[in-house]
């Protein structure tokens, strides 16, 4: 038997509030992981808890036409991150210091690429820290929350055209900043390695 959609669970929670815990059980880990990549771990714990508490209080506003509550939850989480930009900047600085790529079964050529990737990711983190907040939010919802453009639009409550332009501008800036740091060619090579790693 198929499980109930998030929309059904949320609707049921109006009559039976504890039903909302099913939304928590389904999505806490993903929301926490997204937050833990953006801010300090301790803060991610707090913000993940806040995300679901806010979602519970706001459940009357949930649009039942959308079965999947992930965009809504990631939108709340992203709003919470906006109040902790310093922590986010610290997290990105930490990525600048230490970052590796997991990969297996690399041949010799790709080992070279892997080493280059290890060099590039800190610069990606640095570039990410320097792009505007709105563009970073959209990019990270795409890359870290695995949301589609349409879902990002729902998460941020902006038109899909704005999502597209933010992601486009964010990527352009990212490339420019990587180019400024002499990493464009390296990043290109690295991406090929990553892509081929699947």
């Amino acid at each position: 038997m198929d499980r109930e959609t998030d929309a059904v669970v949320i609707a049921a929670s109006h009559e039976r509030p504890t039903a909302f815990t099913a939304v928590f059980d389904r999505h806490y880990d993903a929301v926490h992981r997204y937050l833990a990549r953006r801010v300090a771990t301790d803060l991610a714990d707090d913000l993940a808890a806040d995300t679901f508490a806010i979602a519970f209080r706001l459940r009357d506003r949930y649009d039942g036409a959308h079965d999947d509550a992930r965009p809504w939850l990631f939108g709340i989480a992203t709003n919470l991150v906006r109040h902790h930009r310093r922590s986010e900047a610290r997290r990105l600085r930490a990525y600048e210091r230490v970052q590796t790529i997991e990969s297996t079964e690399l041949d010799e050529d790709r080992v070279v690429g892997r080493a280059d990737a290890a060099l590039a990711l800190p610069r990606v983190a640095r570039a990410l820290r320097r792009i505007p907040d709105g563009e970073r939010d959209a990019l990270l919802l795409l890359a870290w929350a695995d949301l589609s453009y349409d879902e990002i639009a729902r998460a941020l409550d902006i038109p899909i055209g704005t999502v597209r332009s933010r992601i486009h501008r964010g990527r352009e800036r990212l490339r420019e900043l990587l180019a400024d740091s002499g990493q464009s060619l390296i990043a290109e090579a690295i991406t090929e390695v990553i892509a081929s790693d699947g």
């Binding site: 993940a48 709003n79 902006i158």
Partner: protein, 343 residues
């Protein structure tokens, strides 16, 4: 370069959630769910960064030329007549083509803010003036320059909250100068794509100028955006007029499509923020998460060119410290032409 893939590897190794923290969060949620009714009552809507990216003039001017407060909204059929007249004007113009850059210079204001915290669920909001200039080549590449000014507050409560929060950045970068690449080949214009304006000019030039065919395209586009309704179609008409320097025959078809939409209202003769006479039509969206929202397009009756746009909230909302009608975004197109080079 697929930088998104690169991003996906950044921070990929964060540890999983601490089971103790997870359980504590779940317990807190259960406690909240089991609390008395007051605790379970829905709180005000979580307001997030809004739908509009408008560009910009002074807010002081907004107060004196508030198109949104004009009460003379008339029957939809009058709007259809006005739009069909605009279509006739456009259809009578020379439909020459050019390989130059579509160049648009505009001023306006965009809503910017922070919101959605437990202690301040309604957020901190401001209107930020933005001047924008864009050049787009036939292949979709081009240059965009944006300059943002000082935010204007809707009310004292927003400013006080902003100061109490340590004056966080709300407006984004003061100056942006970006060059963007060409549109990838083989793209379906009805499918949302990641570039400024979301339509390449080759796509725009290739759009049907037959009204029924264009309406079909707009229907597909609206469906792809997840909002197959007339408000979205009206918005797409605006998208195709905005910064595209659409050729007269396309403009004619766009106005005829708009004339066929349900709920378009004629506001009438207005003067835009640049002091130019225009005809305003509008559509009201009662389903917007922001409130009862009216989107207005103003066009030049002599040329049918888009002169300006505006978004206004018509009702009192709990997320803005202002009384309706509240202008939440506008854009005035000062220059729309085709030029041989990027400045």
């Amino acid at each position: 370069m697929d930088d998104i893939e690169l991003l996906r590897h950044l921070g990929h190794d964060v540890p999983p959630a601490d089971p103790v923290a997870r359980q504590a969060a779940r317990d807190a949620l259960v406690a909240l769910a089991m609390a008395p009714t007051v605790a379970n009552r829905a709180t005000p809507r979580l307001v997030r960064v809004p739908r509009l990216i408008w560009t910009a003039a002074s807010i002081a001017l907004a107060a004196t030329v508030v198109l949104g407060v004009l009460p003379m909204v008339t029957a939809p059929s009058a709007a259809a007549s006005a739009l069909n007249r605009a279509a006739d004007v456009a259809a009578g113009l020379f439909d020459g083509t050019s390989n130059g850059y579509r160049h648009t210079k505009s001023v306006g204001a965009e809503l910017a803010g922070l919101g959605g915290t437990p202690d301040r669920p309604n957020g901190i909001w401001t209107l930020v003036p933005v001047a924008r200039e864009i050049w787009i080549a036939p292949d979709g590449s081009g240059r965009l320059i944006e300059t943002r000014g000082e935010p204007t507050w809707f009310g004292p409560a927003d400013k006080a909250a902003w100061e109490a929060a340590g004056r966080p950045d709300l407006a984004g970068p003061a100056h942006v100068d970006t060059r963007f690449g060409p549109t990838p080949p083989g793209v379906d214009p009805a499918t949302p794509q990641p570039w400024p304006g979301s339509f390449s000019l080759e796509n725009v030039d290739a759009l049907p100028t037959d009204t029924a065919a264009l309406r079909q395209f707009i229907d597909r586009r609206a469906a792809a955006a997840g909002a197959a309704n007339d408000y979205e179609r009206f918005t797409i008409v605006g998208d195709l007029l905005r910064e595209t320097v659409a050729a007269p025959k396309l403009r004619a078809a766009l106005y005829r499509v708009a004339a066929g939409l349900g709920g378009v209202e004629l506001i009438g003769s207005v003067t835009d923020r640049a002091g130019r006479p225009g005809i305003a039509v509008a559509m009201t969206n009662s389903q917007s998460s922001r409130g009862l929202e009216r989107r207005t397009l103003i066009f030049d009756p002599q040329t049918s060119m888009l002169l300006a746009e505006e978004d206004v909230l018509l009702n009192k909302v709990n997320w803005l410290d202002a009384d309706p009608p509240i202008v939440i975004g506008y854009n005035t197109y000062l220059v729309s032409d085709i030029v041989p080079t990027i400045r």
